[in-house]
C-alpha cells in the first residue's frame, strides 16, 4: 500500500500547488469566481426549495409528493452517475498518459487501479455537491428534521457516489477485456446513448409540464406517481438511499439505517469485485489497448466538407481554410458532437413537449406568458450553446497557436472568421426554432416579428460575447472544452449572457403586458415603449457583442506564443 500512499501524497502536493496558484491570482478574479459559485449553489438551493414547497402545498398529499421527489431525484442521479462514470472510467483507466509513467514504477496493478478508480469517483461526482447537497438540505428544512440529520448527510452521499463508479468500473474492465479498447468505446457509446435516450424519454413522460392553465393537476400527479413507482423497486440501489433519507427525516432512524447498510454493503461488495477483477485483467487490458493499431484514417464526412467548402467559397481563402479546418476538427471529435447532440436532443424534447401546452387558449395573459417563456427558453438555450461551443473556440487552437501566430494573417481576420461562422450558424438554428415554436403556439404577427428580432439580436450579441471573452481569457494549456468553459472567463460569459437575455426579454415583455393584458397604457404609449425597447436593446446588443470582440482582438494582438 506504500504505492497508494505515494500517489495519494502526490495528489495532495498538486492540490497544494493549485491552492498556491489561486493565491497568486488577482484577488478580484478569485472573489468573482467564489461569488459566482456561491450564487449558483444558492440559486439551485432556492429553486429546489421553492419546487419542494410547491409540492408540499398540495392538501393531504403534499408531504408524500415531497418524498416522491426524493425517490425520483436519487433514481435519476444514480442512473446519471453510473452512465457518466462509465465514460470517465474508460478515459481515466486507458487514455491517460500518466499510466505509462505509473506502470514503470514498482507499484502493484491494484494500487494503480484504485488510485485511478478514486480519481474517477471525484471526477464523476464533484457536480453532485452542487445538485445533491442543496436538494437534500432543502428537503430537510421543509421536513423540519432534527439537527443531527444534517450530520448524517455525508454518510448518505459518500457511498452514493462510490457505488455508481464501482458498477461502471466493472462494466468498463469487462468490456475492454472481452472486446478491445477501441471496440469497447463504440459499444459503450451506443449503450450509453441508448440508455440515456430511454431514460430521458421515460423521465419526460413522467414529468410533463405542469399545465397551470388547466385543472387536470390530478392527472399530472397520478401520472407522476405511476412513473416514479419503477424507481421504488426493492432491488434498485438508488431507492435504498432515498428510502433511508425519507425514513431518517421521519425520525425512523432504525429502519433508515437498514437501507443505508444495504447500500454500504453493496458498495463494499463492488469495491471487492473491482479489486479481484483489476488484479487479473486491468494491466492486460491496458497493455493490449496500447498495442492496438494506431492508424486512423478519415472514413466519413468528406462530402460534407466539400459542401462546406463550396458554401463558403465566396469568403477570403484564409477564412474558408479556417472554417474547413474547424469543421473537420469538430466532425472528427465524437466528444464534441455527443454534447452537441445532447443540446439538440433537449431541444427536440422541448418542442415535443410544447404539444402539451394549451395552444388554442384565448386568454391573452397566458398566451403572452407562454410566448415570452418560449422566447426565454430559446434565448437561454442560445446562451448555453454559445458559451459551451463558441467560448472555447480560441482556446482550442491551444498549443497550435504558433501556426496561426506565424502565418501572414491578421487576428482581425481570425476573429471575424470565428464570428461569422458562429453568427450564421446560431442565427439559422435559433430562427428556425423560434419560428417553429411560435407557429405551434399560434402567435400574432407582431409577436412573431418581435420574437425573431430578439433572437437575431441575441445571436449577434451572444456569439460576439463568447468569441470576444474567449479571446480575452484564452486557456491554451487545456484541450478539454468543458474544462475551458468552467474557468473564470467562461463563468463571466455565462453570467453576462444570462443577464443580457433576461434584460432583453423583460424589456420587451413589459410593454406587451401593460398594453395587451393590463390595458394600462394607450396604443401610442405602447408604440413608443416598443420603439424605445428596440433602440435600447439594439445599442445593448452592439455593446455586448462588439466590445468584447474589440478587447479580444487587442488581447490577441499583444499575445506571445
Amino acid at each position: 500500500m506504500n504505492g497508494l500512499k505515494a500517489v495519494g501524497k502526490t495528489q495532495v502536493w498538486i492540490l497544494k500547488n493549485i491552492a498556491a496558484g489561486i493565491r497568486r491570482e488577482p484577488r478580484l478574479k478569485v472573489v468573482f469566481i467564489t461569488v459566482a459559485v456561491a450564487f449558483f449553489w444558492f440559486g439551485t438551493f432556492a429553486l429546489l426549495y421553492e419546487r419542494l414547497s410547491f409540492f408540499g402545498a398540495f392538501p393531504m398529499i403534499g408531504p408524500a409528493l415531497q418524498d416522491e421527489a426524493i425517490y425520483l431525484f436519487f433514481a435519476a442521479l444514480f442512473i446519471m452517475l453510473t452512465l457518466s462514470s462509465t465514460v470517465i472510467c474508460y478515459i481515466t483507466y486507458y487514455s491517460s498518459t500518466e499510466m505509462n509513467f505509473l506502470f514503470t514504477k514498482p507499484i502493484s496493478d491494484s494500487v494503480i487501479f484504485f488510485y485511478r478508480f478514486f480519481q474517477s469517483v471525484i471526477f464523476s461526482s464533484w457536480a453532485f455537491l452542487f445538485l445533491g447537497v442543496p436538494f437534500i438540505i432543502a428537503y430537510a428544512l421543509l421536513k423540519h428534521v432534527a439537527l443531527w440529520f444534517y450530520l448524517l448527510i455525508p454518510l448518505y452521499f459518500i457511498p452514493f457516489i462510490i457505488l455508481p463508479t464501482g458498477i461502471a468500473s466493472v462494466i468498463v474492465l469487462m468490456f475492454v477485456t472481452i472486446t478491445s479498447y477501441r471496440r469497447a468505446k463504440y459499444i459503450l457509446a451506443i449503450l450509453i446513448g441508448s440508455l440515456s435516450l430511454a431514460a430521458v424519454s421515460y423521465y419526460t413522460g413522467s414529468i410533463r409540464p405542469i399545465l397551470f392553465v388547466r385543472s387536470d393537476i390530478d392527472y399530472f400527479i397520478d401520472n407522476l406517481l405511476r412513473h416514479v413507482s419503477i424507481f421504488k423497486h426493492p432491488l434498485f440501489p438508488g431507492y435504498w438511499t432515498a428510502k433511508s433519507v425519507v425514513l431518517s427525516a421521519m425520525n425512523d432512524y432504525r429502519k433508515g439505517l437498514f437501507y443505508l447498510t444495504a447500500f454500504v454493503l453493496t458498495t463494499l461488495v463492488f469495491l471487492q469485485l473491482n479489486w479481484i477483477i483489476s488484479e487479473k485483467i486491468f494491466f492486460s487490458g491496458w497493455a493490449s489497448s496500447q498495442g492496438e493499431s494506431a492508424k486512423k484514417y478519415v472514413t466519413y464526412g468528406n462530402d460534407i466538407i466539400d459542401y462546406i467548402s463550396f458554401l463558403f467559397s465566396f469568403l477570403p481563402r484564409f477564412t474558408t481554410a479556417m472554417i474547413i479546418k474547424d469543421a473537420k476538427e469538430f466532425m472528427r471529435n465524437p466528444q464534441q458532437w455527443f454534447q452537441f447532440l445532447i443540446y439538440f436532443g433537449i431541444l427536440g424534447i422541448y418542442i415535443v413537449n410544447l404539444r402539451n401546452l394549451p395552444l388554442s387558449i384565448d386568454n391573452s395573459y397566458w398566451k403572452i406568458i407562454i410566448i415570452f417563456l418560449n422566447l426565454a427558453a430559446t434565448a437561454l438555450v442560445l446562451a448555453g450553446l454559445t458559451v459551451r461551443f463558441f467560448y472555447p473556440l480560441m482556446s482550442l487552437e491551444g498549443n497550435k497557436f504558433w501556426i496561426l501566430g506565424l502565418a501572414p494573417i491578421t487576428f482581425r481576420n481570425l476573429l471575424f472568421q470565428k464570428f461569422i461562422v458562429g453568427f450564421l450558424g446560431v442565427l439559422c438554428v435559433s430562427e428556425l426554432l423560434i419560428i417553429t415554436t411560435n407557429v405551434m403556439l399560434d402567435t400574432t404577427v407582431h409577436l412573431m416579428v418581435v420574437s425573431t428580432g430578439i433572437v437575431a439580436m441575441a445571436s449577434l450579441a451572444l456569439v460576439g460575447l463568447s468569441i470576444g471573452l474567449g479571446s480575452i481569457y484564452p486557456s491554451f494549456k487545456e484541450d478539454n472544452s468543458a474544462k475551458i468553459v468552467s474557468g473564470f472567463g467562461g463563468t463571466l460569459n455565462f453570467i453576462v449572457a444570462l443577464t443580457y437575455v433576461i434584460f432583453v426579454i423583460v424589456s420587451f415583455a413589459i410593454p406587451f403586458f401593460a398594453y395587451d393584458v393590463y390595458h394600462t397604457i394607450s396604443k401610442n404609449v405602447f408604440s413608443c415603449a416598443m420603439a424605445t425597447s428596440w433602440l435600447v436593446n439594439g445599442v445593448l446588443t452592439i455593446f455586448v457583442g462588439i466590445i468584447p470582440m474589440i478587447l479580444g482582438y487587442r488581447q490577441l494582438e499583444n499575445m506571445e506564443f
Binding site: 484514417y297 504558433w402 501556426i403 502565418a407 501572414p408 494573417i409
Partner: protein, 258 residues
C-alpha cells in the same frame, strides 16, 4: 566580452545582404532576463547555429525573430522588415519549426499541408504538388492520409518540417530540428537545410547538439544567460579558447559559470 573571448564585430563582415539584424535585443519575462542586449547580424545564404545550455535564451531569441514574441526593447529586422511595424510582410518569407511539433491532431498530414498552403495564399496546384514532393522527400506519402493524432513524434516533426518548406521561405528558423528523428531523417534534414542555404535561404537554428552545429553551420553563436558570449566560425571560436582542444571543451569553457 566574457571569459576572455572577444565577440567579432559583425559590422566588419562583408555580406551581400543582411537578412536578420538584431540590435540591442532584450526580452524579459517578469523578473527573468531571457535575452540581454543581444546584437547579431546574419546574412543571406548563411547557416547560423545558436548553441547554449538549457534556459540560455535560444528558443526565446528564435521566437522573437519569428515574431511569436515581442521584444522588451531593441529592434529586429528580417529582410529589411521591422518586426515591430511590418510583421505581416516578414511572415510571408519566414518559416519556423518549433522544438515540440504541436499540430492539429484531427487533420491528416496532407490536409495540414494544404491548410498551410491556404494560410500563405499559395496557388492551389503549386502547393499540392509541393506537398506531395515534400511528403515523398520525408518518406511520409503513405501516411499522408492518416490523422496526425496517430503519428509518432518524429512523424509530426517531419510534417512540420514539410509545412515549413512549403512556401519556399527565405528565412528558416528552426528550434532543435533533430529531436525525435531517426538517423536517416536527420541526414535528410541536414542535407535539405544545407541545400536551401546554398540556394540563398538563411537558416537560423538552435541546438544542443554540438556536432551538428559544427558540421553544418557557417557560423555559430554561443548564448549564455541571454548574452552572446561566443560568435564566429568553429575555427574562430576554437582558436580563442586557450587550452581547449575539442569544440565540446570550448563550449563548456565558454559557458562555465565561474
Amino acid at each position: 566580452m566574457a571569459h576572455g573571448f572577444t565577440i567579432p564585430d559583425d559590422e566588419d563582415r562583408t555580406r551581400s545582404t543582411i537578412v536578420i539584424d538584431l540590435s540591442n535585443l532584450t526580452k524579459r519575462f517578469g523578473d527573468t532576463l531571457a535575452v540581454d542586449d543581444l546584437n547579431l547580424i546574419i546574412g543571406r545564404g548563411e547557416f547560423f547555429s545558436m548553441l547554449g545550455q538549457n534556459g540560455a535564451g535560444k528558443t526565446t531569441t528564435l521566437k522573437l525573430v519569428a515574431g511569436l514574441l515581442r521584444p522588451t526593447s531593441g529592434t529586429i529586422l528580417v529582410a529589411g522588415y521591422d518586426m515591430a511595424t511590418n510583421v505581416l510582410d516578414a511572415k510571408k518569407i519566414i518559416s519556423f519549426v518549433p522544438d515540440i511539433p504541436y499540430v492539429y491532431e484531427k487533420l491528416t498530414g496532407r490536409e495540414f499541408l494544404y491548410f498551410i498552403g491556404e494560410l500563405y495564399n499559395l496557388d492551389k496546384v503549386v502547393y499540392r504538388d509541393e506537398a506531395e514532393h515534400l511528403l515523398g522527400l520525408f518518406h511520409m506519402q503513405e501516411y499522408g492520409n492518416q490523422l496526425m493524432e496517430s503519428y509518432s513524434h518524429g512523424m509530426k516533426q517531419k510534417v512540420v518540417l514539410c509545412s515549413a518548406l512549403l512556401h519556399d521561405p527565405q528565412v528558416i528558423i528552426i528550434d532543435e530540428p533533430m529531436v525525435g528523428l531517426d538517423p536517416k531523417s536527420i541526414r535528410l534534414v541536414k542535407d535539405i537545410l544545407r541545400e536551401r542555404a546554398d540556394e540563398g535561404a538563411t537558416i537560423f537554428m538552435s541546438t544542443h547538439t554540438l556536432n551538428l552545429a559544427e558540421e553544418v553551420s557557417d557560423r555559430i553563436g554561443i548564448i549564455h544567460r541571454g548574452q552572446l558570449v561566443g560568435l564566429g566560425t568553429v575555427d574562430e571560436i576554437n582558436s580563442k579558447a586557450e587550452g581547449a582542444e575539442e569544440f565540446e571543451d570550448v563550449f563548456l569553457k565558454i559557458t562555465a559559470e565561474t
